[in-house]
């Protein structure tokens, strides 16, 4: 419990201090190398994403134009895109900066991703192996034909309309304020080709839970809006606290058609669909919920994270 509170206090200390967000990210990402574990996490979850894109999304990875939004500080996403599709694809970063120090870890992570060996053609594998010695991440990305846009505004992205087949983000959009999220989903709809797939993973948990697993994973639902804003409304702590059903509504408002919403339940960390979420552990007692969250469904209160898979209708106009 104390670890979660300590983390919250440290984040608030940096997040409320002018320039503190930048300093915090510099210290943790650039100096302490904390994003190294992010590569390990991506390496673990990416095979599952590929399974969902190919299974539910009926996509074939080879030759696909993939856009990853806010891939963070490591070039794992373009490298795995290259291995799977033959092109590094597109990467847009709002907060993240690709750092040279994570390049070789990303190379090792992408090559070690648990996918059948035949998924990575030999020529591509060899090319990626050579990139682990590149000194600059830009040089490596140029080699694999990746297109990177940093410092972008998520509501106005520098990508042409109907130009990508798959848009993916993970653990990013829950930090966007609802207006910004609407703007991003509208851009996502514009940029996807008709029939293209939007794949976004939201971590609905209170992020202090990541510092201490004894913390209720939906503890942030206990706080009324103004109190939450006061405590966590800074760039390092903000979570939009949208319920899964509210997120689904935003996708539909943007014009997307639902393919599937897979909810991650605890304690088993398994992804399930629809009513099966009721098997999961509840994130917070209903009695403790702030008034805004009282209409939440039982499934919503048992959803730790959710993978939203939506399609741009084949007949859609941009």
């Amino acid at each position: 419990m104390w670890r979660a509170l300590m983390k919250g206090a440290i984040l608030a200390g940096f997040g409320r201090f002018p320039g503190g967000t930048r300093l915090y990210r510099h210290l943790t990402r650039e100096r302490m190398g904390t994003q190294a574990t992010h590569v390990d996490k991506l390496r673990r979850v990416w095979p599952g994403y590929v399974g969902v894109w190919e299974g539910h999304g009926t996509l074939r990875m080879e030759g696909l134009r993939v856009w990853v939004h806010e891939a963070g500080w490591t070039p794992y996403a373009p490298l795995i895109n290259y291995l799977l599709t033959g092109s590094g694809g597109i990467l847009t970063n709002v907060e993240g900066r690709l750092l040279d120090k994570y390049l070789s870890r990303a190379v090792n992570g992408s090559l070690g991703t648990a996918l059948p060996p035949e998924r990575f053609p030999r020529g591509r594998r060899r090319r990626v192996e050579g990139l682990r010695w590149c000194m600059r991440v830009e040089d490596a990305l140029r080699e694999i034909g990746a297109e990177v846009h940093q410092d972008v505004n998520p509501a106005s992205l520098p990508l042409p309309s109907s130009s990508v087949d798959l848009c993916h983000s993970g653990g990013t959009l829950e930090h966007y304020r609802p207006g910004r999220l609407r703007g991003f989903l509208a851009e996502c709809f514009r940029i996807l080709r008709p029939g293209g797939v939007a794949s976004h993973v939201f971590d609905h948990r209170d992020h202090l839970f990541h510092a201490d697993a004894r913390w209720p994973f939906l503890a942030h639902f206990a706080l009324p809006g103004p109190v939450y804003e006061l405590l966590c409304g800074h760039p390092l702590g903000y979570h939009n606290r949208l319920l899964p059903t509210e997120v689904e509504r935003l996708f539909e408002e943007a014009g997307f058609e639902r393919i599937v919403v897979r909810r991650m339940i605890l304690p088993g960390r398994e992804y399930v669909e629809e009513k099966a979420a009721l098997r999961g552990k509840q994130g917070l007692s209903r009695m403790l919920l702030a008034p805004r969250f009282r209409p939440a469904t039982d499934e919503d209160l048992r959803t730790a994270a959710a993978h939203y898979l939506y399609r741009k209708p084949a007949a859609a106009q941009d």
Binding site: L27, R31, M32, G33, A36, K101, L103, S104, R105, V107, N108, L111, G112, R126, R127, E129, G130, L131, R132, W133, C134, M135
Partner: protein, 277 residues
Amino acid sequence: MNSIRGWARSVVPFAVRLECRRLARGPEWVVETPTIAKVRAKPRERARYPHLLARHRSPLLRDPALAGTGLQRGKEHNVALASGLLDGLIVPPNRIFSYHRTVGRPSRFRGFRDGLELHAGKPSRGVGGGCCQVSNMLFLLALRGGMKVVERHRHGLDLFPDHERTIPFGCGATVYYNFADLRFENPLPFPVMLALGIRDGFLVGEIRSESAPEWTVEVYEMDHRFSRDGDAWIRENRIRRRFRGADGEILLDQEVACNRGRVLYDPGEDQTCGAPS
């Protein structure tokens, strides 16, 4: 700004300025601790690193005229001490090796002696002098062993002619506690171990690994030349390395160092030749 710096140089003693500069790196050392390799292999664990990635040896005595002199004896002692501190260090995947964080401060208290060192482009005497032979060796091992050099400072002088040199000019790295460091990252998916020691008057270094590499490295030089800068001879070159896969296909060809150093001998016939890799 330059005038303030010049004024500070004239007023603040060198030793105080040096300590200030050393202190400035302290906070960085604290925050980067999780990324630095620091575990040494126990004697029984060394057998877990059977594959040789790189090996090199260099003589402790270069100039027979120096044999038995105080500076030479001090240098040999310092090299033995530093190599003992480095021997058996395990560099896990994606961790950074730092010369200074492993060897520490070369002080008399820690057993280092006076040895020959280059200071401000001139040969001089200093505690821990001669340890550059260890850092030179580590830089070359890092290049040949497929490590990624993230910090390296070149020597400003070329001390010896090429007739006994087996590696290209400029394959060395100078170190000065704690701000001129030699650092490399292990970019491989398996850990590597440093093995250094003194054998038969030679410093012998190896980088060993758990798994056999599926590539080979070739270190070579380009654009080697001597030129005149006033009365002084200047020597320049660029060091590159080429990685080849098991089938001979080139995986990567990259520049790893660009050297420029003042020559302390008469280049004579060496003017047109570069040393072999």
